[in-house]
Subunit: 246 residues, 2 copies
């Protein structure tokens, strides 16, 4: 297994859907989309369907029974008007999400999911389900794994790189090899912060942005909580993620 | 002093020449342009003039006395046809470069120099003159310092990030603060590899490329040799770098 990491959707090579492309793609948006996806599916959501475009999201959600849907949307760290939930992993508790489909759009995470949507196996990872995703990949042994971060409006993010390093650390222990420079650097980042990932999330520029918005301590704790969930969000059809146990 | 790092020219924000832009820009191309520039100026070259375009390079060089010029050019790690030297820091010995102007174009490094050319203070750094450049910045105390890597054909490179981390490490010890996520990650990289930077250069994808071309051991040693030179390559006029002692 060879593992590569690309910081943002825009840096994913155009070879992604060709013969040199990956057998598995893993999307990362630590603050907070893929953390929220993991917790929502763990807490019993039927699926999470992601959208880059808000009009498409509303049209698709409207075709769904009212009591079985939730609109989840965030821009710039704040909940969208008319939506049921923002992007906080604290909000997707069982009473709220059980049996429902989440129609989700976020500032950055959905772009990366869209970019990799045609890869044979598409997963999402965050720190809480890092080991579950690692075990799935170790079992499946895809030849090429591409991790794709989400970043902030097209630029590099520290926290996604941290999680890429965390996942790679588990994969390398099981014999995987590093296939690009971005992956090497992410491993160094994980090596430096693995004993206190929350501190890394808090110094990251998007962490600083959330701190300025206020009242996100529980979010930080949840987003930094390593290896707590066994759920592996897996693309079942394009744009639709379902829970599979790791 | 606030220090930021951008992986490649293409990631440098368009605010670079506005009021929020940097007071100093530091260009990095460890393998091998900025290492070669440092050694050439240390060894007595009159100046290094850089070009993105080869026709412009030839036209400008032709206006210079034959015995006072050297054409330095590389594409894909190999010397360009009709040029005097490739991009090796081993080739710019005193007997070859003393008193001469080097007209230089390289695959990646010259793009980043071009991108920052209008900043008030433009320096180049590599591992051999890391501390000299740090001391210059500590003396001058620019408010905002932007480091810009060169990468490989527009993508991230490990070795430039390593040197960005090395320079930042010295600046932070003198009171500078980190201003973006890329800089934080570069510091983690330096922290991991500072006792053996040559090993980091060798695992980098461009290092692997040079190893495949063969016979680059002396280059690796020279490019990884930390704090050996006191020269600070400084832009004197657009595109022209001259030696200033740190």
């Amino acid at each position: 297994m060879k593992v590569s990491y690309f910081h943002v959707a825009g840096e994913v090579p155009d070879t992604i859907n060709g013969p040199d492309g990956p057998d598995a793609a893993v999307v990362i948006d630590v603050l907070r989309a893929t953390t929220t996806i993991a917790w929502a599916l763990h807490n019993g959501a039927e699926a999470v369907q992601t959208f880059a475009d808000l009009d498409e999201l509303r049209a698709e959600a409207n075709s769904w029974p009212d009591e079985q849907r939730l609109l989840v949307g965030e821009r710039g760290g704040c909940k969208l008007d008319g939506f049921d939930l923002g992007n906080s992993p604290m909000s997707v508790v069982p009473d709220t999400v059980k049996g429902k489909r989440l129609f989700m759009s976020t500032t950055n995470g959905t772009r990366s999911l869209h970019r990799v949507r045609e890869v044979a196996c598409v997963l999402t990872v965050a720190l809480p389900n890092r080991e579950a995703v690692a075990q799935r990949l170790i079992n499946d042994q895809p030849e090429q794994v591409w991790m794709v971060g989400s970043g902030w409006e097209g630029t590099y993010s520290l926290e996604d790189s941290l999680a890429a390093g965390a996942l790679a650390d588990s994969l390398l222990a099981a014999g995987a090899t590093v296939a690009n420079d971005e992956m090497q650097a992410a491993l160094a980042l994980w090596s430096q912060w693995k004993d206190n990932p929350e501190a890394c999330l808090r110094i990251a520029s998007h962490g600083q942005r959330l701190i300025r918005l206020g009242d996100h301590d529980a979010d930080f704790q949840r987003c930094a909580g390593l290896d707590q969930l066994s759920v592996v969000p897996t693309q079942a059809e394009q744009g639709v993620l379902r829970a599979v146990s790791g």
